[in-house]
């Protein structure tokens, strides 16, 4: 540099250098802030499993671009179940959610929370609360659910506002006692609204049935799967011709009866040499 023999640039350069340094500092600071906040925002997009959005909430990624955190949904919920997340909560700051185990959604017919939302973060297109999908109930613990233990509880089933559609009791033989039936609460995702009344009312200390975000709760078949019985109804006829009569491979001495399952048979079927009774035929000999 020639700032020793040229006065004007020499006098100007420190100022210019200072300007460039300031500029670089500013850009770096803001860049760092932005990166940090960007990463934080990305993380905050993942809603913790027990925080449930109000009915009609857009998918989480869209919701956080749409909800301006005004709290009008909170105010207009007559049951005061909604809360705006505080910074220490694990939910994007200021956005509304509820925890079903504390207070479930009462599924108001006129859905005041949606009506109050000025942005459409709660979708105004949802007018039938029975079609809402706040989450999905899952009977998550088969080991403590009283009905699974063979006792009759049924509380979750009875409080469900969509009883017999969202939750049904499926009967199954109680092998432990040998002479009773178990009534297993079974959730059907096409009708469950995710209101959380079942979770709230589960009699256990820690609920055996819980509302989870649908994304966590639902499995997904591979695209290539075709369910034979569905295809059959769709086509109106069997897709395999001629239709094969189903063959049962049963343990020795048993027969199969629709609806009851395996029952000890009275058939005098001859036992092949070298086979053991009660052992599936298919696994015996060379019939695999």
């Amino acid at each position: 540099m020639n700032d020793t023999n040229s006065k004007t640039p020499g006098a100007r350069q420190p100022a210019r250098r200072q300007f460039l340094i300031d500029m670089a500092k500013t850009v770096c600071t803001v860049g760092l802030m932005g990166t940090g906040l960007g990463l934080y925002a990305k993380q905050a997009k993942a809603l913790p499993p027990l925080a449930i959005r109000p009915p009609g909430a857009l998918p989480e990624a869209d919701f956080q671009g749409a909800c301006i955190r005004c709290g009008l949904c909170v105010r207009d919920c007559p049951y005061n179940i909604l809360e705006l997340a505080k910074p220490e909560h694990n939910v994007a700051t200021g956005t509304p959610y509820f925890v079903a185990r504390n207070l479930p959604c009462e599924m108001c017919e006129d859905i005041p929370c949606i009506k109050a939302c000025p942005t459409g973060a709660l979708d105004h297109g949802l007018t039938d609360i029975n079609k809402s999908k706040m989450g999905l109930a899952v009977l998550i613990d088969h080991e403590t659910c009283l009905n699974f233990l063979g006792l009759r509880c049924d509380v979750c089933y009875r409080v469900c506002p969509v009883i017999d559609k969202a939750i049904t009791l499926e009967t199954i033989h109680n092998v432990r006692t040998g002479k009773h039936t178990m009534f297993l609460p079974t959730v059907h995702s096409d009708h469950c609204t995710g209101c959380g009344k079942c979770e709230k009312s589960c009699v256990l200390e820690e609920a055996a049935i819980k509302i989870l975000p649908a994304k966590l709760a639902k499995g997904k078949l591979g695209e290539h799967y075709r369910l034979g019985w569905d295809e059959k109804t769709k086509a109106g006829k069997s897709l395999v011709a001629p239709e094969i009569e189903h063959e049962y491979t049963l343990p020795e001495g048993y027969k199969y009866e629709q609806g009851r399952g395996l029952i000890p048979g009275s058939s005098g079927e001859s036992v092949a040499p070298g086979t053991q009774p009660g052992f599936p035929k298919a696994l015996q000999g060379d019939k695999l």
Partner: protein, 284 residues
């Protein structure tokens, strides 16, 4: 609390306490009334106003929405419902007329916090501090907008102390106080008016919104100025005063045109020579 404990001594003697704090008092009343309206619902069941500064509904009919938050939402890819849009139109018109940063001095809940820090700073005689560019806020503003578009979320609202404090006061404060304390300490120890004058993108946004607003402070009686420097001492954005006050020779008019003037009126209060008053941009 007065931001002018050191300055304005002459004024105090000449005009009396009330006259030398007129705009400050009005401003505090405005801040208190606005907050009280929001709090009357949750605290006393008097639902005149519902919501918070991001969006509010007054008497179940008048919607008001924050244009900066809505802009971020728009950039994040969401087109809001009608009510929010009407609310934005009303707010844009209002702040365009009265000056964008009127929001800062008359409405924003962080303003009393940073004013308190400034007052304490002058009381304790804390001088100097880190050099932060006043342009930083525009970079932060740009960053928040880019981030909204890039992440598809209203990212700044995750940490924005302005909305957090207001929401916290109305819906439960939680740990928000730590963030407010951080802003207070920043202003007290790191640099004078650090938050509002250098960082806050909300203020930056509103300054752009009020760039052409007709309501301005004017140094109409600038010949009477006795160089006591009191106005510089109380102004949260002292750099805006000089051109209007001292620009006569360069042919600069007496109206403070910088959009960063918050129209708080403290310079009017504190000047013993009655140099300043509220006027129109077009005034000579």
């Amino acid at each position: 609390m007065s931001a002018a404990s050191g300055a304005g001594g002459d004024t105090l003697a000449e005009k009396g306490w009330l006259a030398s704090h007129k705009w400050l008092i009005l401003r505090r009343i405005s801040q208190i009334i606005i907050l009280a309206l929001f709090l009357a619902g949750p605290l006393a069941g008097l639902w005149i106003v519902k919501g918070n500064l991001a969006y509010s509904l007054t008497l179940n009919t008048l919607p008001l929405s924050d244009p900066y938050v809505l802009l971020q939402s728009l950039l994040a890819g969401h087109i809001p419902e009608k009510m929010a849009l009407i609310g934005v139109a009303i707010m844009l018109a209002f702040y365009f007329l009265v000056g964008g940063r009127v929001y800062c001095s008359w409405v924003c809940p962080v303003n009393p916090v940073t004013d308190a820090a400034a007052w304490l700073r002058s009381r304790l005689g804390i001088k100097g501090g880190a050099h932060i560019s006043r342009k930083l806020r525009y970079w932060v503003l740009a960053m928040t907008l880019v981030l909204a578009a890039g992440t598809g979320t209203i990212a700044w609202e995750l940490i924005n102390p302005v909305s957090m404090l207001h929401r916290g006061l109305i819906f439960g404060i939680g740990m928000t106080w730590t963030i407010v304390l951080a802003v207070f300490l920043l202003d007290l120890f790191v640099s004078a008016n650090a938050w509002c004058g250098h960082v806050c993108p909300v203020g930056a946004f509103y300054s752009l919104l009020g760039k052409w607003s007709p309501l301005r402070v004017s140094a109409a009686q600038r010949e009477a100025c006795n160089d006591c420097m009191d106005c510089y001492a109380v102004c949260p954005e002292p750099q805006v005063i000089k051109p209007a006050l001292k620009g006569a020779k360069q042919g600069i008019g007496p109206v403070i045109l910088s959009p960063n003037c918050t129209n708080c009126g403290r310079c009017i209060d504190v000047c013993s020579k009655d140099v300043f008053h509220f006027g129109l941009r077009s005034a000579k």
